[in-house]
Symmetry: C2
């Protein structure tokens, strides 16, 4: 049996100069579509769904009119005038794809590169990314990962306050330019992953959506606003709104994967977990499409297959690896970094990146996580920089220069799926700060104050904290592309040698006092010195294949490494 | 590694006239135990745990003194003077068990009999249950299931407002009499299951518990009060408080199973679901002990093994079977009964009792449940009466007399685990009403008004709604034991013939218009007429082995059954 809400929602063009408009709006008495100034009442299909075939063509603007009030379509694929403007009919089939021989990126080959479309180039558009694709491919990146592009308020922002979850941001060039970018990426043999936010919508969009129906629930909470209604009354059409969004991105934009933002804030206690359905539906559209969870749960069920009770996601971000590494490199102990600081933590994370696998977290004041030994190393995404770990610092500063080489060495030669953050591959010095352009005065004020409050404990920043709403904050975050050739060469070499390393578990040894760590991967050995002074890292005989510092020197019983250096032996 | 809170909490007698007192009280500055009027300060063992060996003996009263205030122990095993009195040291090992040759009740043989200790006999005590055990065993009951006995406020109550979750109710005779009852049951070859409430504690106990630590969390909600903190900060000692309670019931009282009240209100989003840990820990104490969930989730993961992502509970209540059956029998359509009413619903429930297995529930306004075809029929507990379905009606009235025989026929000959509610086996006419004896005036008032509010839509009851706090309401709910010999004979026969039926799936046919249903179980056929008039239920040739009505008459093409009758053919 098919329920009314299971048919395609939104404006779906068909072949006779018509589109089927289907709107879920149980709170409205009269539901119409406004086209060229004229309102066409839709027919009640039951369960709050209203639908009708209407003559229109791709590129035409429309409003959904609820009891006389025109509103943008929550299922819109195109918002040419922003979150409060009309929706526009998109015929995704019009794009002339040239990627017929593209076969996707197998998880084992995945090297991700996270980028923010607006800050990646001066133009800040989908189109402006294209000229950089070949260079990234040559470096060894196999997929770029776009920070969220769902239509969000204003002209700039990180994208996590998106409202129309299926509409590619008009400020970046809209859906047609996104198709062009992805087609060009595939021509350059590089995949594209999209960050999608299904745990909340930007506060600017809540009121309009609530006029349609119960998109939100008080049953659960999220840190960013009302929880989306995935398991309360009338949740099924809300689930479809999200599931069809995910399907549409993969089907109509040929995306190679979706990165699901903060799945720990997607609450569903029903017998059919929405996160499992999401993976099932995405894989049904394209079995090669990767479902990548950002999960703050340290729960292996996320990446286990459905037949053993998992959600069936392909891989997940593993923050613990970052934290274990970062705290060794920088000595920072704020917030969740407090749980880390020992070589032991990083050694454990090299086996499986859940450093917390049921152990006590002093930061959370409870035992956290569960063992993930049954999951393949590629099912964990690791990084030493990302938008959060850079951008959610008070000043958005990247890793200190002196530790970057060892950090990259540890990440890129790990058995896990590595991810770079735009610019790190050539030693970018520009910060990536938190920027917004909220169009609601109250939300803008709350965002500013929230930021100030968050960093209030750091007196040092009191005068220098960037104003998220200021356009300079955004401009300051753009890549300068000032290239350090030694860094570029190191990244190229690390990514090249990475491909030679065997898959499978790493075997780790370390010395807490001497601050060295040694990782065996088949015939290869990674040697790392986390001390502030040079040290001898003992190891079996071999040749130094690669070192982050020219002074790395093999000796009788090991390799003498300068402070904060790494060397690969074979 | 063992954390301080993982050691045995509460007062644990050892062998030298001493007991180890261990208290989790992170909110107190000074934690002491008062014995014979004297306070003994405990030693800080970290993580809010305080402990000390003190000279004492079993049967001695003690208080936990937090910063000078004496309070009962949340881990108490004995509250001789009620929820606000002192705790008493119990040495559970003192009881001289005689059940060495008792081997438990395999799930396949389980026939449950739910009883309320207070209402089951005039005396209303554990001891007074004993003389009835042999008769139940002879009838074919293999385990009695006691409604909750954890110390609750006042002298009478259903027990779901228990406070000291590990202390057997003093009003029933306390822990020693519970041991005597269970030992006597085992001597009578009958098992004992205990209903335990781990989703909330009675409001009367919240304040005292909060003086110890964060037993509760605002992260989740329950319909009955603050959610217990199973996944928020400092949840680990709270988890232990509950897990050790479950272990203690099985280890020290030789219980054959625990019935977990309303697990859908036990919220835990962590990577180590408390409901899985509970089953693991209980089975580790006694692999034969049955974990029986009351689950309102229709989620098969509850009864799937842990290695396929389940919670590993042995069996679960299946309300849908009751509802499907009841609505056919009585035509009631209030509340959740609205989703039922067709023969089709009961036919589906005979395959697996999740009538909602992902289908739309008009009552819940969403799709509900998931298929459970991989689970054995014995993993579902079915019934036509229970404390809820009787007692949570406005007047606590049992099933109408004229439908009881067919109801029992359907339940007891089903492939599922059947449960009787005390008295139904002989045609008890007394109601089972909602009764309380709250000692807090405000809680008593709120309970009364809540009950009035709940049934306000039934104008008919306005004058006759029982007052839950009145002792007459309790007295009216006691079994009269006025026996209808025909009913007794039918139950005995049904339970006898049930043992001959083969295990395995049932094959069901029905006619919605004629209102008959036929269930094939191997060589046997159950024929049911739900119509108000006699009808011919078509079936293959065979002998009528048993009928609920003497007028059941085999004919050429089937069996002619009077209204609301059932017949078993072979």
């Amino acid at each position: 049996m098919t329920y009314a809400w299971e048919r395609r929602l939104g404006a779906v063009p068909c072949d006779r100069g018509e589109a089927c408009f289907r709107v879920w709006a149980p709170r409205a008495r009269r539901v119409a579509v406004r086209l060229r100034g004229e309102d066409h009442t839709l027919e009640d299909a039951g369960h709050g769904v209203h639908e009708r075939l209407l003559p229109t063509s791709a590129g035409e603007d429309y409003w959904i009119v609820l009891d006389g009030t025109p509103l943008p379509d929550p299922c819109s694929r195109w918002q040419p005038a922003g979150i409060r403007g009309p929706s526009r009919v998109l015929d995704a089939r019009e794009f002339d794809w040239s990627d017929h021989d593209w076969s996707g990126v197998p998880l084992e080959d995945l090297v991700l590169y996270e980028l923010h479309v607006g800050a990646f180039t001066e133009e800040g558009t989908f189109g402006a990314v294209i000229p950089h694709l070949l260079g990234l491919r040559e470096l060894g990146v196999t997929a770029i990962e776009l920070m969220p592009v769902a239509e969000f308020p204003g002209q700039r922002g990180w994208g996590y306050d998106g409202v129309q979850i299926s509409a590619a941001f008009s400020g970046y060039g809209g859906p047609r330019d996104l198709q062009r970018l992805i087609d060009a990426a595939h021509a350059a043999r590089i995949g594209v992953v999209l960050d999608v936010v299904y745990n909340h919508v930007g506060a600017s969009g809540v009121k309009a959506m609530e006029a349609f129906g119960p998109y939100f629930t008080d049953k659960h909470k999220t840190p960013w606003g009302k929880a989306i209604n995935y398991d309360d009354e009338q949740c099924d059409p809300v689930r479809e709104w999200m599931l069809q969004s995910a399907e549409g991105w993969v089907r109509d934009f040929h995306l190679d994967g979706l990165r699901l933002d903060a799945i720990h804030a997607i609450h569903d206690e029903s017998a059919r977990p929405i996160l499992r359905e999401l993976a099932t539906r995405v894989h049904a559209v394209d079995p090669r499409a990767l479902v990548i969870a950002e999960s703050g749960l340290n729960d292996p069920k996320v990446i286990r297959p459905a037949d053993v009770g998992g959600y069936g996601h392909d891989t997940q971000w593993a923050d613990d690896f970052h934290h274990a590494l970062r705290v060794l490199l920088t000595g920072e102990r704020d917030g969740y970094y407090a749980d880390f600081g020992l070589l032991r933590d990083l050694a454990k994370a090299y086996r499986r990146p859940f450093a917390h696998d049921g152990t006590y977290s002093a930061y959370r004041r409870r035992r956290f996580g569960a063992p993930a030994g049954d999951r393949a190393p590629a099912q964990f995404v690791v990084f030493c920089q990302n938008h959060d770990q850079v951008g959610n610092r008070a000043l958005g500063d990247r890793l200190p220069v002196q530790v970057r080489a060892l950090a990259a060495f540890c990440v890129l030669l790990s058995p896990f799926t590595p991810m770079l953050f735009m610019g790190e591959e050539y030693g970018e010095q520009a910060p990536f700060q938190f920027f917004t352009d909220h169009i609601d005065v109250e939300i803008a004020r709350a965002t500013r104050e929230g930021r100030r409050h968050e960093f209030a404990r750091f007196a040092a920043y009191a005068g220098s904290l960037p104003d998220p709403q200021a356009s300079e904050t955004f401009m300051r975050s753009k890549l300068t592309r000032a290239r350090d050739p030694r860094v570029s060469a190191l990244y190229a070499e690390l990514l090249r040698v990475r491909r030679a390393l065997p898959a499978g578990d790493a075997d780790v040894a370390f010395d807490e006092a001497e601050r060295w760590l040694r990782v065996r991967r088949g015939q290869w050995q990674l040697l790392c010195n986390f001390a502030d002074a040079e040290t001898l890292v003992p190891c079996a005989d071999g040749q130094v294949v690669l070192a982050t510092h020219p002074a790395a020197q093999p000796e009788r019983d090991g390799v003498r490494l300068p402070a904060l250096a790494g060397a690969l032996m074979r």
